[in-house]
């Protein structure tokens, strides 16, 4: 190839990397802006406890969001995470209350429940080749019903923080002599780093991206597409289970029949964080930032006298803007 031919190099400034950086920076900017805005409007917002609260209510959404990033990267979606999380929390919590299962084991059961749900999704999407949307919509309904059936329709209360069995609550919020340490946030950060490395620097992660980028090409490269496609949904299920743990640790009672709609919060966070709905591209760090925007809104708006229903409206608009950016970025290419 002669030196004169430089068509490809016209792009070497790498607009993708640049835009991605931009989107993340925009999101961080939005977070900083919101934080300053709320602090300025309300003195009560400028408290350590507010920060801890924002963290507290973001754990379960963050975990779901980290998980659902993977199906989204494959170009699919997992709608069952919301009801799945609640079902897992119900089922495991019920075992603690009714069968006196040690909490440690129950947490494991909770995670395994999520993994099982992930396996069901993986089977219908990767093995039966059903459209992910409708397949996970079905399992969303199944999880919702099953969670309720398994506990006989009753709400479940995991052991309180002060009790002997309540130690698991300090996984996320450690009470060190009256000072609250949001260890959950550190945990989430660690998970973000681990999953980022997994996504970008391990074979399974790379193959999951490949499935989302061009399934046929991946197959012809000798990649066992179905296996990695399935893995994305199992990861999502695993994080659904983890989110169940976080949900149980943060809140008091888990009520059957709830959870529908929470998946949308998580997916919205992923999209705001810059993951492409078309698949093939996504970042875990962005996902966390996206979730944070929503958590900030949810916690911050009441401080300036606006009800949470305004959060719905604002999140809706932010979401449209985020997808619009994604679409125009893709259109440019």
């Amino acid at each position: 190839m002669g030196a004169g031919v430089k068509k490809g190099n016209a792009f070497t400034n790498n607009p993708i990397v640049k835009t991605v950086g931009t989107q993340k920076i925009v999101v961080i900017g939005v977070i900083i802006f919101l934080a300053i805005f709320f602090s300025w409007m309300s003195p009560a917002f400028r408290q350590y406890s507010t920060v801890v609260s924002i963290f507290d209510f973001s754990y379960y959404v963050s975990l779901m969001a980290i998980g659902v990033t993977f199906p989204l990267i494959t170009g699919g979606v997992d709608l069952s995470i919301g009801t799945g999380m609640v079902a897992a929390g119900l089922f495991a919590g019920n075992l603690v209350n009714q069968q006196n299962l040690p909490v440690g084991l129950a947490l494991l059961v909770c995670i395994l429940f999520g993994v099982a749900l992930g396996c069901l999704n993986a089977f219908s999407v990767a093995k039966l080749n059903l459209p992910p949307f409708i397949a996970t919509l079905s399992s969303m309904m199944i999880a919702r019903g099953l969670g309720s059936i398994l506990v006989g329709g009753m709400s479940v209360t995991w052991p309180a923080g002060a009790t002997e069995q309540g130690w698991f609550r300090s996984i996320f919020r450690l009470d060190a002599n009256g000072t609250l340490i949001p260890v959950g946030f550190i945990l989430i950060l660690a998970l973000v780093i681990v999953m980022s490395v997994f996504l970008n620097h391990s074979r399974p992660g790379r193959y999951i991206i490949s499935v989302g980028s061009n399934k046929e090409a991946a197959r012809l490269s000798g990649i066992h597409v179905a296996k990695w496609h399935a893995l994305a949904y199992i990861i999502s299920g695993f994080f659904t289970g983890l989110a169940g743990v976080a949900y149980a640790a943060t809140f008091q009672g888990i009520v059957p029949g709830t959870g529908a709609g929470l998946e949308l919060d998580a997916i919205a966070g992923v999209i705001i964080g810059g993951t492409s709905m078309k698949g093939g591209y996504g970042t875990i760090g962005g996902t966390l930032l996206g979730v944070f925007v929503m958590s900030l809104l949810k916690t911050g708006l009441p401080f300036i006298g606006l009800q949470a229903n305004w959060q719905q409206i604002i999140t809706g608009i932010v979401l449209i803007i985020a997808v619009f950016i994604d679409v125009t970025r893709n259109a440019k290419k």
């Binding site: 079905s138 059936i149 229903n309």
Partner: protein
């Protein structure tokens, strides 16, 4: 099997729809037997049919609407909350502000259309993915309904009360006490209109073709954006109408809810043979799919079970339906 599918009658009605009829009848018998065994009750009664139909009316309209959107290859995840939002706003204007009934009914339909227009505009003209777009407008619908009514529920007037005439759209009870299920006629009428639109008009032709191959239709000199947007407007308008049938049967709507209806409406459409990938849709099938959902819900209640079982069973049926659908399409190619 070939013989059956080549039979002229079968061909005219469609194998899928005959299968659905069969499932419907089978379910009815199944419930008759099970209800007798479990509850010692008679399942066959007019009252039961009426109460199942109550559920089918609004669900039918939602499902018909979303069929148009799925036919274009998109999805509308906002119909349930939009229906609630329409019923809340128009009901609030009727009861709190004393607007005339007819105007309020119009407002209800209009609110639905507006959300349809928003979805359609963003999807068709801005090329945003329909799933995320409708998710955003679902958040908007929930928030707007909630803000508009200041988080209060709205109860529509009773049939006998002032402004109760709208209930004649759902049922008329004559002086002799006979109930005429006018809602069924409304549903059938609207189904027929939808079937005509989908199969006999330019709009329907283009909506189906867009679902099949949008670019080819565009390059035929067709204004694809307009027709694609129209599908969403039809969907939203039907959701606005569904709001009227909903309050006609169930009187009260609360803010912040309605998203579970999305799943069932989409499930009804998919059961009816609408392909998630677009291009293939059946109004008759959707009608039957909705009837199956309504029957399931009535039958499960009659057996004395919670609705949880209905969710699980609907989920399983949808999985099976999609599997059959995907398989038969694969065989065609």
């Amino acid at each position: 099997m070939k013989k059956i599918s080549n039979n002229r009658f079968v061909k005219a009605v469609g194998f899928n729809r005959i299968l659905l009829c069969f499932v419907l009848i089978l379910l009815y018998f199944l419930f008759t037997i099970l209800v007798h065994v479990i509850q010692g009750q008679n399942f066959i009664s007019l009252n039961r049919i009426f109460s199942a139909l109550n559920y089918a009316y609004f669900m039918g309209l939602l499902s018909l609407g979303v069929t148009f959107v799925i036919a274009t290859g998109g999805i509308d995840f906002s119909i349930g909350p939009v229906m609630y939002c329409a019923a809340l706003i128009s009901g609030y204007l009727l009861t709190a502000n004393g607007w005339p009934l007819l105007l309020c009914l119009l407002v209800s339909i209009l609110v639905g259309s507006l959300f349809g227009m928003l979805n359609g505009y963003l999807v068709a003209y801005w090329n945003l993915p329909s799933f995320i777009t409708s998710m955003a407008s679902m958040m908007l619908a929930r928030g707007v309904g909630s803000v508009f009514t200041r988080t209060q529920s709205v109860s529509w007037p009773q049939a006998a009360a002032e402004n109760g005439q709208y209930r004649m759209l759902v049922r008329i009870v004559t002086e002799s006490g006979t109930t005429i299920p006018t809602g069924l006629f409304v549903l059938i009428l609207i189904s027929i209109i939808c079937a005509i639109i989908l199969n006999k008009t330019k709009a329907g032709r283009y909506i189906l073709c867009i679902g099949s191959n949008k670019e080819a239709v565009r390059l035929s000199g067709v204004n694809v954006k307009r027709w694609e947007m129209l599908a969403y407007i039809i969907c939203g308008t039907l959701a606005g109408m569904a709001a009227i049938l909903f309050v006609g049967a169930y009187t009260t709507v609360q803010p912040g809810l309605g998203d579970t209806f999305n799943n069932e409406a989409i499930a009804g459409s998919v059961m009816g043979g609408t392909a998630m990938s677009g291009g293939v849709a059946s109004i008759g099938g959707t009608f039957l799919g909705v009837m199956i959902i309504a029957l399931l819900q009535e039958g499960i209640l009659a057996m004395g079970f919670q609705r949880d079982y209905q969710f699980v069973i609907t989920g399983i049926i949808v999985l099976v339906a999609v599997y059959v659908n995907v398989r038969s399409q694969k065989r065609k190619n």
